[in-house]
Symmetry: C2
Subunit: 210 residues, 2 copies
């Protein structure tokens, strides 16, 4: 296997943290998206979608999608379990991982990509240019993040982790979302003590350094 | 089990089509989001996220997320398989289902929610109001749909279905995305013959009437 990675981007970090939790060693190559290396002919041959990360399997199969890569690794390296053990738990983990992504991660991406000068003209990932930033969308992303903090604070009042009482992929997505959102000066609201407690705990896991 | 559904919304339709393919019978209740029934106290008790669909299990577990519901049904009703059989196929199906959702479905939603008069002030699902429509985002959604058509046309040149040579959840997401996008007058481009062929085939499945 070979992982096409970029150390400064939040998407690949979701996969790196998952891999670190699993304790797997996978050789990796850096694709520096700040230098637009995802648009080279060489990388297009690996992932025509021009996104990072991509995991290439030994048979040549190219998995160019974060959660698809995690799914493959969960199936082939079941322990420690990060995506649920039975039907009910798998569904609950998927629900919270998707909420963390759809309501958190994508909102943070909207806030960052539509305001940071480095993304000028590139408001959508995987597109070479011609996509103007939308300031109103950056603002909507900030507001969505505010709602997201409130929602997960209520969830974390009743459970130690996002999808229940143990660590899962949903915590990886949620943690990296909040850490990434700092780039747009978005911080955990002071009245979200449960989020602050959980975030500090996840930050102490060795995998958080991935 | 009990499904909280709304016949006119594309999210619940993804679950209905999945259920129809599985041949499962699940009692359902209509939550008319056009009449804002997702914001009643009764429904908030079922799904505090105020989104439809929700599947409530016999033990009271509430699954308020489309793909999480599908995951539960796939695990408990494995045939016909719709989410992959082995690690590699599960990952490929997940990749294409996510691409169909992140690059297609969400783009179509951006186009519709940010232009249709019925969503004025409600640019984000599950929020009672105060989220202004963003016309530039509707336009970005239309452009993203254009790229999406091109991408899946290339994929469908080499395989009969989105995630390979058989029908999967990715086809459900892709099909409903394109059908939904018509509400914003977005149509399959004339040069995407592979998409047109595949779309017509999926439309003929009995589950497409769900």
């Amino acid at each position: 296997m070979k992982l096409y990675d970029f150390s400064l981007a939040p998407g690949p970090r979701r996969v790196r943290m998952f891999i670190a939790e699993k304790g797997i060693e996978i050789p990796s190559v850096q694709i520096n998206t700040r230098e637009r290396q995802q648009f080279t002919d060489e990388y297009r041959a690996v992932n025509p979608n021009c996104m990072v990360p991509t995991l290439v399997l030994d048979d040549g199969t190219s998995l160019g999608e974060t959660v698809a890569i995690c799914r493959y690794l969960e199936e082939t390296h079941p322990e420690p379990n990060l995506m649920g053990r039975d039907a009910r738990e798998k569904a609950i983990v998927e629900m919270w991982n998707r909420r963390a992504e759809l309501e958190g991660y994508l909102a943070a991406v909207d806030a960052v990509r539509n305001s940071a000068p480095m993304f000028e003209g590139r408001g959508v990932a995987g597109v070479t240019g011609g996509v103007p930033q939308i300031p109103a969308l950056a603002e909507r992303g900030r507001q969505s993040m505010g709602r997201f903090f409130g929602k997960i604070d209520r969830q974390l009042a009743d459970s130690s982790h996002l999808a229940g009482d143990r660590f899962s992929i949903a915590d990886i997505t949620g943690y990296i979302t909040i850490d990434f959102a700092r780039r747009a000066e978005i911080k955990i609201p002071e009245d979200c003590a449960n989020v602050a407690r959980w975030f500090a705990e996840v930050a102490e896991r060795p995998s958080a350094a991935a």
